[in-house]
Symmetry: C2
Subunit: 160 residues, 2 copies
């Protein structure tokens, strides 16, 4: 069900991706980016991108990349998205657990999320359950359309 994301997969997922970035609740992405730009950010710049598919429908996706270079290249970074209709089924957890295994197979020793918006309580709860810790909080880091400037958390997990 989880396979490397093709350009076709990304096109199928694009309506969800676009709705997520336009909502500006979770991602520090340009809400007006084109599908081509989004494909570059999600699938081409990262090392890997995966799709969670059921019956040729893409219900979720994640990317994995190094979070820095050289002496810090052992820390990776991932981002996850799940379509609205498929939430509450554990897909984000499945994707995160898959990403940790892929990261370990690639030799990464830790995973870091650079911007977990403080209002995104469901994500924070899930990442904590999966062993990630809040290691820092960036004040007024995210311009939320309803809440104004709110904090973002940096979350981190050592992989073993």
């Amino acid at each position: 069900m989880i396979t490397e994301m093709t350009k076709q997969d990304f096109a199928l997922f694009w309506p969800t991706f676009e709705s997520i970035i336009k909502a500006q609740q979770t991602y520090a992405f340009d809400p007006d980016m084109s599908m081509k730009q989004a494909y570059q950010v999600w699938c081409q710049t990262p090392l890997k991108a995966f799709a969670f598919k059921v019956d040729d429908e893409v219900l979720g996706t994640y990317y994995l990349k190094a979070n820095a270079m050289g002496p810090s290249s052992h820390i990776c970074n991932c981002g996850y998205m799940v379509s609205a209709a498929a939430r509450g089924q554990g897909i984000a957890q499945t994707l995160c657990e898959h990403s940790q295994q892929v990261a370990k197979n690639l030799g990464f020793k830790a995973m870091q999320f650079n911007s977990v918006v403080s209002s995104n309580e469901g994500a924070i709860r899930l990442w904590k359950k999966l062993g990630y810790e809040i290691i820092g909080t960036i004040p007024k880091a995210y311009k939320h359309p309803q809440l104004g400037y709110i904090d973002s958390h940096i979350m981190h997990k050592l992989l073993d």
Copy 2:
């Protein structure tokens, strides 16, 4: 003395840049990157790069870029380098103060350093003096050639 960095300026500074990344004490950059790759990372990917010059000698430099996109695009990120012979003269402070002014002129509301290596005590002292706070610490984030895996700090300052 501080001007936008040209390709020629960067070439003049390259021996210092290369010695800094090869030493692997401060930057999470690939220590083996070429001058062309370094020019891209320092001058082309960022919004701006500046050179501190005296008599056509480049003694220091910094880059400035957005640290994220969309709802977090009001936070910038900078990196600074000073040549070994010119250290202890306040050039890093001058560059940092210049960068804060440039950032404000460009509309940024905060500046974030994503990886200040914990052994780099001089830098940490200077950033604290200039109003930056440690907002988080990444465990074992930097593979130091002498000290092994050591922590890095995330430092942040609201600009007003």
